[in-house]
């Protein structure tokens, strides 16, 4: 067990998490603790299990061995527990996954109205505040298909925040974006981290990781190879695989 570096209790606890796809062993014993307000960056080569792992936190993928506890709730087959955890964890996807048949504001207010049972007026007021926070209040009545990729991803962040989650999960949020739109999304994420949100981010944006992350985890072949603060990871990586991977993605 690693020594907790925050005074509060961990909000996410993963103990010996395993996951198989058929015979393929995708996650091989992941141990991780995330504290309130901590920003965790997960990086590693493709196929290393980092996306699979972040998706087990809100049960989009089922783990088959080990234990995951989110905000005091243990993930089991109990559907009500799963829905409670999903209410407390927002997720942002690589492909945005906005609902194309709904306007931007309806995308954002849908879950607050139908899951949290807020009034429409209340949900829209908070939705507009969030759109302002991500910088695109003027797009509220448009459909997702009318927005650029960067704008869509910012709407997706606003949609996840509208449920007022305690944890935000980001699964490669900038990988599908054109280069000139990456910054606008990272800026929103940085602001979110500064506001004290607990975040788990799968990303290859090492500049973002260096600036914002409290802890970084390097995944390879379904395992955590190395973890530490950005200073430790970038300044003095212990493992050869970490060094190799960093040299590959930082060389250009």
């Amino acid at each position: 067990m690693t020594e907790p570096n925050h005074s509060t209790d961990p909000i996410i606890i993963c103990r010996d998490v395993h996951k198989w796809y058929g015979h393929y062993h995708a996650l091989r014993g992941i141990n991780m603790q995330v504290h309130k307000g901590e920003v965790v960056v997960i990086f590693g080569p493709s196929g290393s299990g980092k996306s699979t792992f972040i998706r087990t936190i809100n049960r989009l993928e089922e783990h088959q061995r080990g234990e995951i506890i989110v905000d005091g709730i243990r993930l089991t087959h109990d559907v009500r527990d799963i829905e409670r955890i999903r209410m407390e964890t927002g997720m942002v996807f690589q492909q945005f996954n906005l609902f194309p048949h709904l306007t931007v504001i309806d995308n954002i207010t849908l879950a607050p109205i139908w899951v949290r049972k807020w009034s429409k007026a209340q949900a829209e007021e908070i939705g507009m505040q969030l759109l302002k926070r991500v910088g695109i209040p003027e797009q509220a009545r448009k459909y997702p298909g009318q927005l650029s990729g960067g704008q869509q991803q910012r709407v997706a962040i606003a949609r996840a925040l509208a449920m007022q989650p305690k944890i935000m999960l980001f699964d490669e949020p900038t990988s599908a974006l054109d280069p000139e739109m990456i910054k606008e999304v990272l800026d929103v994420m940085t602001e979110l981290a500064d506001s004290g949100m607990t975040m788990m981010v799968v990303t290859h944006e090492m500049g973002f990781a260096r600036a914002v992350a409290d802890t970084m985890y390097f995944f390879d072949q379904g395992q955590i190879v190395e973890s530490g603060t950005p200073e430790q990871i970038f300044g003095d990586p212990k493992e050869a695989r970490t060094k190799l991977f960093l040299s590959q993605i930082l060389s250009h």
């Binding site: 997720m91 048949h101 879950a111 009318q146």
Partner: protein
């Protein structure tokens, strides 16, 4: 203007696209006589069409005995529905005109030509009709115009009312047509064996659509369910029904239902409706499933990640997109259902086709198949065209802004 500061392009740089406008001659030239072989084909087919049409028109104007239609219009429209209760059928038509007028004004913008043609239809028909029918058609036309005017005057406020109107219209029609109680009730019961003609055809169709649609959607969802028993039952139902002709299902509904439910007498028309609904639902389920499969997995994941449960996810996220994707297929199926209702003839119901056969058996009108079937075809054709046109409008409307 300096080169470094970006600014809006001036008017001259943004050119409008070249307009394509032709005179009649220009259009003919482009589409019919662009090359020598196109010109040749145009001439050949023109001659063929003229030869064919001339004989048909000549027959229709000189030889055809259209009195078979005019003498039996009432029979074609409502069958043996009692004369004293005909006003109820007219009331349904008038209400429908009111609702259509209302909805057209609220939702159907920029369709002036269609609106005028549709609005003028009852008045044109009124000039052809006589006595009560003429008055009723005039009232229908006026109702349509009133509905349209109302919606233009107070459109946004009436939106909710017109949706409610459509929802209660269907049960209201059933109530009006069938009635209740004995001879001294305000709406005396009309037994279903007196329902007939276009009235019966439309009722079979509407009941078929209204009930088979939700059933089909449920079957489609059931077929995708993660519960093995539910899935198996849905698959078996769909495959069995799809493996059997509609005629068989109708016969089964007539003959087998009484065997399964001894002591309960189910009305013959209701049995036919049940057969049509059960048959149509299986096909609908497969079409809806096609739409469901077109929805990317990310939509399910996003909905789940927000904490929506399965039902909310399906109703709010998945079905709206899936159904929109299959509108053309669904409407095609509804059109097929409309035409398939003519098969109820074989279980002894007198729908539009049944009436056509009955009319042809009248001694006065023996051997007038051409006139009668052309008239019936025209009615079927008009209704199918309307359904198809409506679906295209709906599609265009739902894809606006995407």
């Amino acid at each position: 203007m300096s080169a470094s500061t970006p600014s809006l392009p001036s008017r001259a740089e943004v050119l409008p696209p070249p307009t394509e406008r032709y005179t009649v001659l220009g259009w003919l030239r482009k589409n019919l006589f662009s090359t020598w072989y196109n010109a040749l084909l145009t001439v050949i087919f023109g001659v063929i069409v003229i030869l064919l049409l001339r004989s048909v028109v000549e027959w229709a104007l000189t030889q055809a005995r259209w009195e078979v239609i005019t003498a039996n219009v009432r029979l074609f429209m409502v069958g043996q529905y009692p004369t004293a209760a005909t006003w109820r059928a007219w009331a349904c038509v008038v209400l429908l005109a009111l609702l259509i007028g209302l909805s057209w004004g609220i939702w159907g913008r920029n369709q002036r030509a269609g609106a005028i043609a549709f609005g003028a239809l009852p008045f044109v028909l009124a000039t052809l009709a006589q006595d009560e029918a003429r008055i009723a058609l005039l009232i229908t036309g006026v109702a349509g115009v009133i509905g349209f005017a109302l919606s233009r005057w107070r459109g946004p406020q009436l939106q909710r009312i017109s949706i409610i109107g459509w929802v209660i219209y269907f049960p209201l029609v059933i109530l009006l047509i069938s009635g209740f109680g004995g001879a001294n009730s305000p709406l005396p019961l009309v037994p279903t064996n007196l329902w007939g003609g276009l009235l019966l055809t439309l009722l079979l169709t509407v009941v078929g659509i209204v009930f088979s649609f939700p059933l089909g959607v449920l079957l489609a969802l059931g077929r995708q369910s993660s519960l093995p028993i539910v899935r198996a039952l849905c698959v078996i139902y769909i495959e069995v029904i799809r493996g059997v002709p509609l005629i068989t299902v109708l016969f089964m509904a007539q003959l087998m239902l009484p065997l399964f439910l001894p002591g309960v007498t189910i009305d013959r028309v209701v049995r036919a409706m049940a057969g049509i609904v059960l048959f149509s639902a299986a096909y609908l389920a497969e079409n809806v499933r096609g739409g469901l499969q077109a929805i990317p997995r990310g939509q399910y994941e996003a909905a789940r990640a927000l904490g929506l449960n399965t039902w909310k996810m399906m109703l709010l996220i998945i079905l709206p997109q899936a159904l929109k994707a299959v509108i053309p297929i669904l409407v095609g199926q509804f059109i097929a259902l409309f035409k398939d209702t003519s098969l109820v003839v074989i279980v002894g119901l007198l729908d539009l086709m049944g009436i056509a056969k009955a009319v042809l058996a009248q001694p006065d009108f023996l051997g007038l198949q051409a006139e009668v079937y052309l008239f019936v075809a025209l009615i079927y054709g008009v209704f199918c065209y309307l359904m198809s046109a409506f679906s295209q409008r709906l599609e265009a409307r739902l894809s606006a802004g995407r």
